[in-house]
Amino acid sequence: MCGIAGFVGPVPGDLSATVLLKRMIDAIGHRGPDEQGIHIDPGVGLAHARLSIIDLSSGQQPMANEDGSIWVTFNGEIFNYVELAERLRATGHRFRTHSDTEVIVHSYEQNQEQCVDDFNGDFAFAIWDSRRRRLVLARDRMGVRPVYYMQIGQTFAFASEVKALAAIPGVDLEIDPIALDQTFTFWSPIAPRTIFRGVSELPPGHMLTYQDGRIAVRRYWSLQYPKRGDAKPISESVAAEELHDLLVDATRLRLRADVPVGAYLSGGLDSSVTTALIRNYTKSHLRTFSVTFESSEFDESEYQQELVRALGTEHSSVLCTRDDIGRLLPQVIRHAERPILRTAPAPLMLLSQHVRENGFKVVMTGEGADEILAGYDIFKEAKIRRFWAGSPGSPMRPRLLRKLYPYLVGLQGQPQPYLEAFFRAGLDDPGNPFFSHLPRWRMTSRLKQLFSDDVRDAISDYNALEDLSGQLPAEFGQWGPLSQAQYLETSLLLPGYILSSQGDRMAMAHAVEGRFPFLDHRVVEYANMLPARLKLRGLREKHILRVAMSRHLPETIANRPKQPYRSPDAESFFGKAQPEYVREMLSEDAIRQTGLFDVPAVAKLVEKCEAGRASGFRDNMALVGVLSAQLLHMSMVGKAAQGARQVAHAAG
């Protein structure tokens, strides 16, 4: 796993191409500390920072074909490279290395842009096709690996992280108010938009070509669901068997590495499944890692230990305290490069550090199962609300709301009429495409009250929900309710937050690569075609996964209800060990300087948090949202940020 960067066109400023590429790749050097490489052709530069995992001795990049006409710089893995290389050899391609990178080169020679259709992997790569003078960028189907791009005058530039683009002379990052509005609605901007004006993200499952100064983006893969009532007719036992076999194969492919592969173990069902699969289908010695918390509200050590005993793994954990979260947030934001509304990425940064300190570069992890097999409570919530909408006057139906979010103390303590009032959002409009997500999005949108007048003016009458509505696939309306909700969760929150802010960025901060068997596209496509009743049976989430995996797991784990991964929020920043930056970033001066938020509104929020009166989702999300946006602005926008970047650069 690695970092990539490059450009096509004249070198901006008065730098040489070498110096520019070096600056860009140094900015994301944390992604690939093992080696660096560059390739320069007239008007083109590719750079690579390498984390060596496959073919340690000869997998250096950028890498070319035999005659040097095609060059690639690649971040990620093509897990089925062994099979693809065999196929390509059979058609006459000669390989010089044993790396998956070379498979991209030859696949492209063979099939040009269509080569991605054959790749099973997590990837972001750039190919320079010198004969056609064409640059091709591609990103994996689910959005595991990132790639950003922008146009600077006559120059097109791309990189794994925005900080590499910010290293280009003449690039001054600015916050995009519309992206801020989207973040304070959906938790992230809608790709290709990013929080920085003028910087785009290549959306998951997309390719981009840049030729003759023109950018063309096309989708090569998309999430598909059956039409309503048209799901695969299949028995539970057959579906469980097929899903099981697919997961075994997805895991087997993801164990391919020339370095040892470890596993994250949260104690929940999903990481238990991935860990059990490794344990049962490979002979490798298994090393597992987890994060623990002080408060029982968040901690899952008991379940982690149970699984460690059952599977006989060698396990270690790292304790994440509130003070750790407070201390780590600035670093988290420098890596996430976007505002966040929850602190949950911070413990994962601590965990990746722990993994790295223990000598591991690769970990298997369970993300994606909740999206593709309906694990999240939002799916149950939508089901109950839809049932309630069928008879809105019923006193009994909304009582089912009590079955939701059993782990949220605040919500559970709520009187029934108020619980109903909250979940009533959108109840009168069950045909609304966003029916499942309206309570969440409406709640999050309340945070926009904190925006400054300038931001409000810039946003004007923009409506994020209308915007998203216009971007839904044409088939969306024909899908069943669970499919619609799953699509929203899998296309927005998964790449926009889970796999990026909580995933790639936190792992790569310490040069650790995450691998996700549930996000093998064959698993995703299979799960999407299953009938809703096999995923959410009654209110039992991920039903089919429990059936498929019960043979490998202790009963308590297989039947354990979903406990989402969460961490302490506002309290992390107002304890005795309050980090200095908190006061500084939330000061009147700093709020005025960034211009993002309303001074008295933030003062009020801070006062409330200081007095220990922060309560509910709203205050907690508001605080983390404001603080992270302030940190982002100060570290990446404007002159202050350039100074900070230079200092960071000088300090190595």
Binding site: P417, A421, Q449, P600, S615
Partner: protein, 91 residues
């Protein structure tokens, strides 16, 4: 005491449930739920405040929007609670 109920309630709501809108913009009959001012845990804070400030006990069955969803409703509810039972009977 009775006369100062509304301003006190308004003050509490402005301080605890509003980030930005001025207290002036809050109308006495405005629904706190519909405005999104009271979120999932806000009502418990409100109940806690009422019990502490006005030395009353809010019964579980009284925690309903009819009693607590606007400045007006909260004030009326409080007045009923604060009025001795004998006077209620006379009235």
């Amino acid at each position: 005491m009775a006369e100062s109920i509304e301003p006190a309630i308004r003050q509490f709501i402005a301080q605890n449930f509003m980030y930005r809108e001025g207290i002036q913009s809050l109308r006495d009959n405005q629904s706190l739920l519909e405005q999104g001012l009271i979120d999932s845990t806000g009502v418990l804070e409100l109940v806690f405040y009422l019990e502490k400030t006005f030395a009353i006990t809010v019964g579980d069955d009284e925690v309903i929007p009819e009693n607590l969803d606007s400045v007006q409703q909260i004030s009326s509810y409080l007045r009923r609670k604060l009025t001795p039972a004998s006077q209620v009977r006379v009235a």
